[in-house]
């Protein structure tokens, strides 16, 4: 057992670390997709950027603040989501929060974990708006940050004792991960499930591939389905595949497992029961949920239940 305050800080450290990686990955994927299709289908490129802005909303979402010109839109989004210190969903902000939380509980971490995280943060801190505005510069900066986050996750895996502190850190990571998957799917699916009859098929497949890549699942999908891209297969994969770490099924099962271990053989806590029901729904009734429009309603339900898990954690464990 650990201090409630420490559990709380580790949970948020896990969430912010995972969030930083999610933003990094989705930025990299979006930038690549948008710059590739800009000549072919400019509205699509603009749509990609705007969707990303919805997934990671800034403090000021007023319509007139969003740049009209595509290039300006891309550059503003890159800057805001990468290094803007005031944007609540910038990589910088998230890493800073992860590090701030780590600093308050350094005694609960190993030196390796703290130093790797701190180095990653400090490297990103060194980038300027100008470096980010330049395509290759941006890619190398973000790739370095992503490697740093992976190294931190590696240090956690390699050096932390599997004690209750580790469980809360992992819980934060898993909740953030599955939540972000659900948000991305909820936002991207409407367009991807009912394409216009005149759709350019190769481009349509590119968008599915980008979605899979945005959820680190393209290679895993290919291992199961090969290079054949079918919307329904891809959707099923992202929702129900039991092995890919960013599917809803995998994520809810992971959260359930962690919350059961945190309950430690006592009566299951309220968040453990909420996630238990949700994970069971996904694992056993999944196939029934795919009819017309049902998947979107289901995603709304998933998002609501994940929110409940998060809210009930505070009263169950953090004493807040």
């Amino acid at each position: 057992m650990i201090l409630s305050r420490v559990a709380d800080a580790l949970y948020w450290m896990g969430r912010y670390l995972e969030r930083a990686e999610n933003i990094t990955r989705l930025l990299l994927v979006t930038e690549e997709m948008a710059s590739e299709v800009v000549g072919l289908d400019e509205p699509l490129a603009r749509g990609e950027w705007n969707e990303l802005r919805t997934i990671f909303p800034g403090p000021d979402t007023a319509e007139e603040q969003v740049p009209r010109a595509l290039r300006a839109l891309a550059q503003a989004t890159l800057y805001e989501l990468a290094i803007d210190p005031l944007h609540p969903y910038s990589i910088f902000f998230s890493l800073k929060k992860a590090r701030d939380n780590a600093r308050t509980v350094r005694e609960a971490l190993t030196i390796e974990v703290f130093v790797t995280l701190n180095e990653t943060y400090r490297e990103l801190e060194g980038y300027t708006r100008r470096q980010i505005a330049d395509g290759p510069g941006f890619r190398s900066a973000l790739a370095a940050t992503q490697r740093g986050i992976f190294a931190t996750a590696g240090a956690i895996e390699q050096t932390l004792a599997r004690d209750p502190g580790w469980l809360f850190l992992e819980l934060g990571e898993e909740i953030e991960r599955v939540f972000r998957t659900a948000v991305v799917l909820r936002l991207k699916l409407p367009a991807l499930l009912s394409p216009a009859p005149t759709v350019d098929l190769p481009l349509f497949h590119s968008r599915w591939r980008a979605l899979l890549r945005g959820l680190s699942s393209l290679e895993n999908y290919r291992k199961v389905h090969g290079a054949r891209m079918e919307a329904e297969d891809a959707l099923r994969f992202l929702l129900f595949d039991p092995h890919t770490p960013r599917s809803l099924r995998f994520g809810t099962a992971a959260v359930k497992d962690l919350l059961e271990r945190i309950s430690g053989g006592r009566d299951l806590s309220l968040p453990a029961r909420v996630i238990g029901r949700l994970a069971a729904d996904i694992a056993y009734q999944g196939q029934d949920l795919l009819g017309d429009g049902k998947s979107l309603d289901f995603l709304d339900h998933v998002l609501g239940e994940l929110g409940r898990v998060h809210d009930t954690l505070s009263t169950a464990y953090f004493g807040t």
């Binding site: 057992m1 650990i2 201090l3 409630s4 305050r5 420490v6 559990a7 701030d100 600093r103 308050t104 509980v105 350094r106 005694e107 030196i111 703290f114 130093v115 701190n118 180095e119 400090r122 209750p164 809360f168 945190i262 430690g264 006592r266 464990y317 953090f318 004493g319």
Partner: protein, 479 residues
């Protein structure tokens, strides 16, 4: 290589008219001379990077919130031969013994006040004297579990006590980290010296704390209590908790129930036996001391009074390191131990005494004036370096409360070669050894050497532009 030597005060390294290195520094100087300038600079860069990446930082007050700085580190180590250290160590043991006897006395019979060894009103008027704790005996009669005593060296090289820190002396984490860092960046320094280890400190500290646990048989729970991440010494609080393997807690993590102290944990409460608190007395318990304290634990002092929790250092111990009480230490040592002080100290004028205060007001330009309650170099006037205007306004404030001030002549304390801008230049240094008071009094063989990085400066405090050095205490050579 160009070595500049000290123009005033004792030079720690170079001796006599021909400026030859003292024998214990000769090997180090020749190793340093074997480095090229580029190589030194490269090593220095590595060292700074290591400090930043490891987050070995402190917070500066009064600047923008959350500003982290690294504590500048100078790689030229300070070396103390075994024979010199023996004097320091014996003197410190004598001093800490006296401080504890003094504390026990002023909170009980007050013999030293009745016998006129120290003026009663001087002791009883200190805000660090906690009359709420009168008659209370801390476990094992230990008031000061951890003391950091600041030493300087006179112009002849004699060690002088500048002040004792009996409340929450900080800096020991840098003692340990400086050793690790120096060994990483300049491993070749260590080959020719029998340097005594400082890495035992966390074990010794934990043993010291366990010794005063009220339930010694039931694997006592020790915690480090910190004001939180915004405190300037937060790194150290976290470091010590990590090194000792005990929880780091803040006031809000603790609660008092049924006259025991508990930690709030995820599934249940856990009783706490020993609190190594790094919070000042005033903030410890809003029910006993400052009511507005958000950092403390309501009811903690009552539990302490009942003997159900041990606090290190004991509340009320701060009166012993008061700068005015310091002036009477030589008399107190003789009074309690019947011994002559082994370590000399700086002559001190006490504002509370009318004659002393008159002398202070008349010689302000020659004196270093300090307020009795403050630490960290805050509220101080360096007379010889002050302007007339500064002295006048300081004097006006002083006159409102003379008892709050003490004054000392400026000691031209010792200098040590320090690497600044690619050159080795003399900079003034002091020394803070750490003393633990457990089954017996132990002095950690090492200490924090602080260095005034500005040329000519006498101010070594980290909050005022000071840095630090690794401090080597050498083992006696086999005969």
């Amino acid at each position: 290589m160009n070595w500049e030597t000290a123009t005033s005060g004792y030079d720690e390294v170079f001796d006599g008219a021909d400026h030859r290195p003292r024998p214990h520094y000769a090997p180090l100087i020749s190793i340093l001379e074997s480095f090229t300038r580029e190589n030194l600079e490269r090593r220095e860069r590595l060292q700074k990077l290591a400090l930043m990446n490891q987050g070995i930082t402190f917070t500066v007050y009064g600047e923008k919130e959350g500003l982290e700085r690294i504590f500048p580190f100078d790689f030229v180590p300070r070396i103390i031969p075994a024979s010199e250290w023996k004097t320091v160590q014996d003197g410190l043991v004598q001093r800490i013994t006296t401080l504890n006897l003094f504390l026990l006395d002023v909170y009980h019979e007050q013999r030293c006040l009745k016998d006129g060894v120290i003026p009663a009103d001087l002791v009883l008027s200190r805000k660090e004297y906690k009359r709420e704790l009168l008659g209370l005996t801390p476990p094992k009669k230990v008031f000061t579990h951890v003391v950091g005593t600041d030493l300087i060296r006179s112009e002849t090289g004699e060690y002088l006590v500048l002040e004792d820190n009996c409340r929450c002396p900080s800096g020991v984490s840098y003692v340990l980290e400086n050793r690790t860092l120096l060994n990483r960046v300049f491993p070749e320094f260590f080959a020719s010296y029998p340097v005594r280890t400082v890495k035992e400190y966390p074990t010794l500290l934990l043993n010291t704390l366990l010794l005063v646990a009220p339930r010694p048989s039931q694997s006592p729970v020790v915690v480090v209590l910190s004001p939180g991440i915004h405190n300037s010494a937060y790194f150290e609080h976290s470091f010590l908790a990590r090194e000792m393997g005990v929880p780091l807690v803040e006031g809000r993590d603790l609660l008092v129930e049924g006259n025991h102290v508990f930690m709030r944990r995820t599934h249940s409460k856990q009783q706490v036996d020993v609190i190594y608190r790094r919070i000042d007395d005033d903030f410890l318990d809003p029910l006993t001391f400052r009511r507005d304290s958000m950092l403390g634990v309501p009811g903690l002092v009552n539990v302490y009074r009942e003997g159900n929790v041990a606090l290190a250092n004991a509340p009320g111990a701060g009166v012993a390191d008061d700068k005015a009480v310091y002036a009477f230490m030589p008399e107190l040592i003789k009074y309690y131990l019947g011994e002559e002080p082994l370590l000399a100290q700086v002559p001190t004028h006490v504002g509370l005494r009318r004659d002393d205060f008159r002398y202070m007001t008349e010689h302000l330009g020659d004196l270093v004036v300090k307020t009795t309650g403050d630490a960290g170099g805050y509220g101080m006037l360096m007379g010889p370096f002050s302007t007339k205007k500064e002295r006048e306004s300081y004097l006006a404030v002083m006159k409102r409360n003379p008892g709050n001030y003490i004054a000392q002549p400026l000691v031209h304390f010792s200098s040590h070669p320090t690497h600044v801008n690619g050159r080795f230049e003399p900079r003034r240094i002091d020394l803070r050894p750490f003393i633990l008071n457990g089954d017996r009094i132990r002095v950690l063989p090492g200490g924090l050497t602080r260095v005034a990085l500005r040329p000519g400066s006498y101010v070594v405090n980290s909050s005022q532009g000071g840095g630090s050095k690794d401090t080597w205490v050498l083992a006696p050579r086999e005969p």
